[in-house]
Amino acid sequence: MIQLPCPWCGPRNVSEFRYTGEGGSRPDPETTTPHEWRRYLYMHRNPLGWTKENWYHGSGCRRFFSLERHTDTHEIRMPDPHVEEASTSENAGESSMSQEAVEPR
């Protein structure tokens, strides 16, 4: 069982969390098209490599947060708060921060 570095509580077993989807912003409901809206709802990139994920720490602090996870190695890093949409390409691994290095809050 992998552990996730909760930004509030620290590392916890993944069974305490619920995956709430790939990172991605909600289209404007006033102007969205069926194609765009359903892409948002159902289509996931599911890459082999770095991906941004949203998680809910339901059995802990009950906060929603985002992280970046490498789907092959399970390496985890926290998204850079200064970058709105973190890069999800393979090359982004260079700035990788090991899970242990993640500081609380």
Partner: protein, 1181 residues
């Protein structure tokens, strides 16, 4: 001799040797047991097989496919021929299981007896039982498969289970060792000792009952070394030794499954261990040799012979041939000579000699042919032809072993080892005991160093820890260790002699089978494995994998390195279902009225985690009571969320499909939530209690989802909205009082609320005092269609109000009704149930909820999909349906069918709810129906599950009764309440034992020496506070998330979440504490809220030295002092229940406060008492 093979040996111990220096048996006493009905004796410490071998028994089982007689091969847990039936337990590894007084042991897979086995005829027809025989033979004709299956099942290799077997108590716990050492041989012991010396907490796991590995059956010097290592381990308090335990698998991030066997009263315990680092010292297993007759009883490995002689003082035979290509085989020959076995020949492949075949007489070994042409009479053939490294755990860590031809074995690829897994001992290489120990000690030290680094990182990242990063940097631990070189010793490659023999002893796969599989095209190891089932039996490749690979390589002409190994996967050793399933945590929830339900014969129903009364008697009578007089139902499971803040209306507009901007104080409204795909998710009523204070209700099953949904919107999409959400589902006992006389009933006991129809109309909310209980909430709503009131009572007084309602309504004909009556009542009224009358595809318009959708709202969840659905005609519609014959109740999920074009029968809908209505005296239904058929009066065909078709008509309204809603507008005269007519009890009831009163003391004086005391302290007052995590209020409270502080008035402030606090106080100061908190909140200027959770939470205190051990059995958190010191606060899963844990030591004794939702209090208490049984836990409630 051969007669002894199968004839009961009585109480003879003819093969027992004089005392051996390393023996593990206790000769001072004996145990009686039976083997296939005959009496036998053993000494304590004897395995079943060693005791039988001491009596001269040589055949223990019949093989899987050919039913060949099988004897001892390895004399260890993994001996393939020694799976026996012990009492009711099949498949017992009898070369590992100890004899216990009175056990009945029998062979399995034999019929009618071990000696005369009918199925042994398979040997004769063996040449027709080629690989793939079953696949090829029993595939056609397919209709005969059930018949084939019955016959084949008789041939299955298993014992028998008894349905009357007594229940076993299987156990679980979590562990967080710094270093997990796998294997208790010299390498494992050396690594454990050096890791412990360097400050690591070590868990040492050994499969056998004794530590020491091969030193135990080695020379006197080796035995002395083992004894010295054992003494050092025993005096290291930070090494936890688990013998007779096995590491089953390694999973992501060093998560290990360990099974601990043979604990007192517990057959097996599963340990889930998260190790900072692991040292794998699983060692080498001796490999059998492949030749004609290699599975005859009497042919055994050198390690088996040495175990029998040195550990169990058993003479393995009378006249021996020793095939030895290494030092272990040479030592076995010496051992045999020492105990007086005639060694007729030593066959040394290092000198070019070899065996050809073994002959049997009456099923056991009688002679051995050698390559020099000699045939030697012998009843024992000992083989020592090489080793297999137990690399399975390393495989599971992603490491693929590589083949070293010079050493004739696979070794780990040390260039790709993960940082948190280290390896030592025989897996790495060979050497003297001193060389192995030197390597192991260096590896142990390095494991401790890496573990310390990981531990410091964890402490730094953990909110509850009190240490700063700089403190941790100073305790970085020892420097990296240099590991001395250790490499595998040269060994001749010996897999198969010139003849064919058994490769897989469990599955009866011979070298000939493998070669023919390759010829048929199954020419890779992975394919041949699945085709022949080689390595797929109970031994799972430990003995036979390398031989199988070698034979496949031989057949394909490739090298062993090219052929490669198959993949080792978890589990390493077989594990019982009991160990995996044991002590399952299934939280259950009870309402405060549960004692009354139990006393009054309620038939329980399971609704999610809730246990609810389905009925008390005949539901039809309960329905009539509601329609004619008044009934009360316990609706506590209805989800309730307390919403506070200036932006609640914005939130409600976002969540619900209807409009909420203009809900006045004192009013409630029905609302429907859709998910973003427009599918109906939940419904309920929400009432506005005051300007910025609302109470939302949800369906019982949707309560948790809706709470998460609300938090999701608030935290991710609209963090700027000022709303605090507090779940209060079980802070209130909820009672629905329904029926024409409901107003009269509640008027008799309600104060402070004008109940007249004009002053308190339909869809409004009031707060007041009921039966003497303050702060009750009354909603005038109606799920049943009758005049009704939903009362929300502070939960500790729920039972009191429930009992008073029944008492004061006796003359009105009041009775309690259950969920079944409620379902009938709501169906008569045509109210839908989300999830019953809708499914995971039902959008709002299909649920008959189009009237509620307000597309002119700016935004709400699911809006785009509903806009598009509203523009499309067609789809499904929710309709009322009545069968023409009112006596027929079509079962729910009956299909509605129609003849389409070309006379094809189409499914056009389905019955979603159906009941016989006691009020209307006929059957009534709701259905999902194609919109084209949804017009009232349409006659439908409903196909019943038995195939009959019945006619049914679409009704005009969903409501079968009172569609205009007159009944719930009923005007009755409410009598004036008698002031103080009913008084409430002095103390609220405890959530943990509702018949009792909980303690209300915050400190615990009583610490139990050596154990744990569990006290119900739910009587304490509890307040929940929400504010910005870094705002004025946070500064004022001065308690960080993850920590606690104590105030002068004795109250405890818990930093229970980011921007979330819980204050615990004794009741006599509670009012002052609340006033203080509210004044702090109101003067902070920022958005802040204080919610009284006294009734909503169950609270326990654990005190005693073994608290952490108890918690480790129910909770995956590491409760060591550096991660969760005194004053820590955290929320996690305890026995699968979300629970807040506060460490609040009492006078230096470890102590923890645990609190959870009130309804789960009894469950949590009982789960802890159950888990603590082994510590002699004491409880007070």
């Amino acid at each position: 001799m051969t007669q002894q093979a199968t004839r009961p040996a009585g109480t003879s111990t003819s093969h027992r040797l004089p005392v051996q220096s390393g023996e593990v048996i206790d000769r001072s006493s004996t145990l009686d047991f039976t083997w296939n009905g005959a009496p036998h004796v053993a000494h304590p410490g004897d395995t079943i097989v060693s005791a039988l071998a001491a009596a001269g028994v040589r055949v223990f089982s019949r093989s899987f496919k050919y039913h060949r007689p099988r004897g001892l091969l390895t004399a260890s847990f993994h001996d393939p021929g020694c799976s026996l039936q012990v009492d009711d337990e099949p498949n017992v590894r009898a070369a590992h299981r100890l004899v216990e007084e009175g056990i009945k042991v029998s062979s399995q897979n034999t019929w009618p007896s071990l000696r005369f086995d009918v199925k042994a005829a398979n040997q004769v027809v063996g040449r027709f039982l080629a690989p793939g025989f079953y696949y090829k033979t029993f595939i056609r004709p397919q209709r005969l498969w059930p018949a084939y299956e019955k016959i084949l099942a008789r041939f299955a290799h298993a014992g028998t289970t008894s349905p009357n077997t007594a229940e076993g108590y299987y156990d679980k716990r979590y562990a967080h060792p710094d270093v997990l050492v796998v294997g208790g041989g010299p390498a494992g012991l050396g690594a454990a000792l050096s890791a412990a010396r360097d400050g690591a907490r070590v868990m040492l796991v050994e499969e056998e009952r004794h530590l020491g590995g091969h030193l135990r059956w080695g020379s006197v010097e080796e035995q002395a070394t083992a004894a010295e290592l054992l003494t050092r381990v025993a005096s290291s308090p930070t090494i936890e030794v688990l013998t007779n335990s096995v590491v089953l698998g390694r999973y992501d991030e060093n998560w290990f499954g360990v099974v601990q066997r043979g604990l007192p009263g517990i057959p097996e315990r599963l340990i889930k261990a998260r190790a900072k680092t692991a040292v794998v010292a699983a060692g080498l297993m001796e490999r059998p040799y492949v030749f004609d007759g290699n599975d005859l009883p009497g042919v055994m490995l050198s390690t088996a012979a040495r175990r029998l002689i040195n550990l169990y003082a058993v003479r393995p035979g009378q006249r021996a041939v020793v095939l030895t290509a290494n030092a272990a085989g040479d030592a076995a020959a010496d051992d045999l000579r020492r105990i007086g076995v005639e060694v007729a020949a030593v066959v040394d492949p290092r000198q070019g000699a070899d065996v050809v075949r073994a002959h049997g007489r009456r099923g056991v070994l009688s002679a051995v042919d050698l390559t020099d042409g000699r045939t030697i009479e012998a009843d024992l053939l000992v083989t020592a032809v090489g080793w297999t490294a137990m690399t399975s755990l390393l495989n599971m860590a992603g490491n693929r072993p590589i083949y070293v031809p010079e050493a004739a074995r696979f070794v780990p690829d040390r260039t790709t080892m993960p940082d948190d897994v280290l390896v030592t001992g025989g897996l790495v290489g060979d050497g003297s005991v001193a060389q192995i120990l030197a390597h192991a000690e260096a590896v142990g030290a390095e494991a401790a160093r890496r573990a310390a680094r990981r531990r410091n990182a964890q402490v730094a990242a953990t909110t509850t820890s009190a240490k700063s990063s700089s403190e941790l940097a100073q305790s970085a631990g020892p420097p990296e260790t240099d590991t001395p070189e250790l490499s595998p010793a040269p060994h001749p490659e010996l897999f198969r002699a010139g003849t064919h023999g058994m490769v897989d002893f469990s599955e009866d796969v011979s070298s000939k089978d493998l070669i023919s599989a390759v010829r048929e095209g199954y020419d890779s190891a992975e394919l041949a494995k699945r085709y022949t089932t080689v390595t797929m039996g109970p031994v799972q490749g430990k003995l036979e994998l390398v031989n199988a690979v070698a034979v496949i390589a031989e057949a394909t002409g490739a090298t062993i390195a090219q052929t490669g190994s198959t993949t080792w996967r978890p589990m390493y050793a077989p594990v019982t279902l009991g160990a995996l399933a044991g002590r399952i945590f299934e939280p259950v929830r009870y309402s405060p009225m549960q004692p009354w339900h139990e006393r009054n014969g309620a038939v329980p129903m399971v609704a999610g985690q809730w246990i609810r009364p389905d009925r008390y008697g005949d539901p039809a009578h309960e329905v009539r009571a509601v329609r004619e007089n008044v009934g009360i139902i316990d609706v506590t499971p209805i989800g309730k969320l307390d919403l506070r803040g200036p932006d609640v209306a914005k939130l409600l507009n976002q969540l619900y499909i209807n409009k909420w901007s203009k809900l006045d104080v004192g009013k409630v409204r029905y609302g429907v939530m859709c998910a973003e795909d427009g599918v109906v998710m939940d419904d309920g009523v929400t009432g506005r209690l005051s300007q910025d204070h609302y109470l939302m209700s949800t369906t019982s099953s949707g309560a948790a989802n809706v709470w998460e949904w609300v938090e999701n919107w608030l935290q991710t999409e609209h963090p700027e909205w000022q709303v605090h959400v507090t779940p209060v589902t079980t802070a209130y006992a909820s009672i629905n009082v329904a029926g024409p006389r409901s107003r009269e009933l509640i008027a008799r006991m309600t104060q402070g609320v004008d109940l007249s129809a004009e002053a308190f109309p339909y869809m409004q909310v009031r707060t007041g005092r009921i039966a003497g209980v303050e702060d009750c909430i009354l909603w005038r709503i109606g799920f049943t269609g009758e005049l009704s009131y939903e009362l929300h009572i502070p939960a500790g007084y729920g039972l009191h109000v429930w009992e008073r309602l029944l008492e004061y309504g006796q003359d009105l004909g009041v009775r309690a009704f259950g969920v079944e009556a409620q379902r009938i009542l709501r169906l008569e009224k045509g109210h839908l149930i989300i999830g019953q009358d809708t499914d995971g595809l039902t959008r709002a318009y299909s649920a008959g909820l189009g009237w509620a959708v307000k597309l002119d709202k700016a935004d709400f969840a699911g809006k785009p999909e509903l806009v598009w659905q509203s523009a499309e005609p067609g789809g499904m519609r929710l309709v009322g349906v009545q069968p023409v014959d009112g006596t027929i109740v079509p079962p729910e999920a009956s299909q509605i069918v129609a003849r389409g074009a070309g006379k094809v029968l189409d499914i056009v809908g389905r019955i979603t709810s159906s009941r016989l209505s006691p009020t209307l005296g006929r059957s009534i239904c709701l259905a999902q129906l194609d919109a084209s058929l949804a017009e009232a009066g349409t006659v439908l065909t409903v196909r019943l599950p038995d195939g009959r078709d019945v006619a049914a008509t679409v009704t005009e309204h969903l409501a079968h009764l009172d569609p205009s809603g007159e009944r719930q507008q009923l005007v009755t005269i409410a009598p004036d309440p008698v002031p103080d007519a009913v008084r409430r009890p002095e103390n609220p009831r405890s959530p943990i034992s509702p018949e009792g009163i909980a303690s209300a003391e915050l400190t615990s004086g009583a610490a139990v020496a050596g154990s744990v005391l569990i006290t119900d302290v739910s009587g304490l007052s509890k307040f929940g506070i929400r504010a910005a995590p870094d705002g004025v209020l946070a500064d004022e409270l001065g308690t960080d998330f993850g920590r606690i502080t104590k105030a002068a008035d004795g109250s405890l402030t818990v930093g229970s979440g980011p921007g979330e606090w819980v204050v615990l106080a004794e009741p006599d100061v509670a009012a002052d504490v609340l006033t203080r908190l509210e004044s702090v909140a109101s003067t902070s200027g920022a958005h802040a809220s204080v919610v009284d959770l006294t009734h909503g939470r169950a609270l326990l205190r654990l005190t005693g030295p073994r608290c952490a051990d108890l918690l480790a059995k129910v909770c995956g958190i590491d409760f060591s002092d550096d991660l969760t010191p005194d004053g820590s606060a955290l929320r996690t899963s305890v026995a699968k229940l979300v629970t807040d844990i506060v460490r609040d030591d009492q006078e230096g004794v470890p102590s923890y406060l645990l609190h959870c939702e009130r309804s789960s209090g009894t469950y949590l208490f009982e789960a802890l008492v159950d888990a603590g049984a082994e510590f002699g836990v004491e409880s007070v409630r």
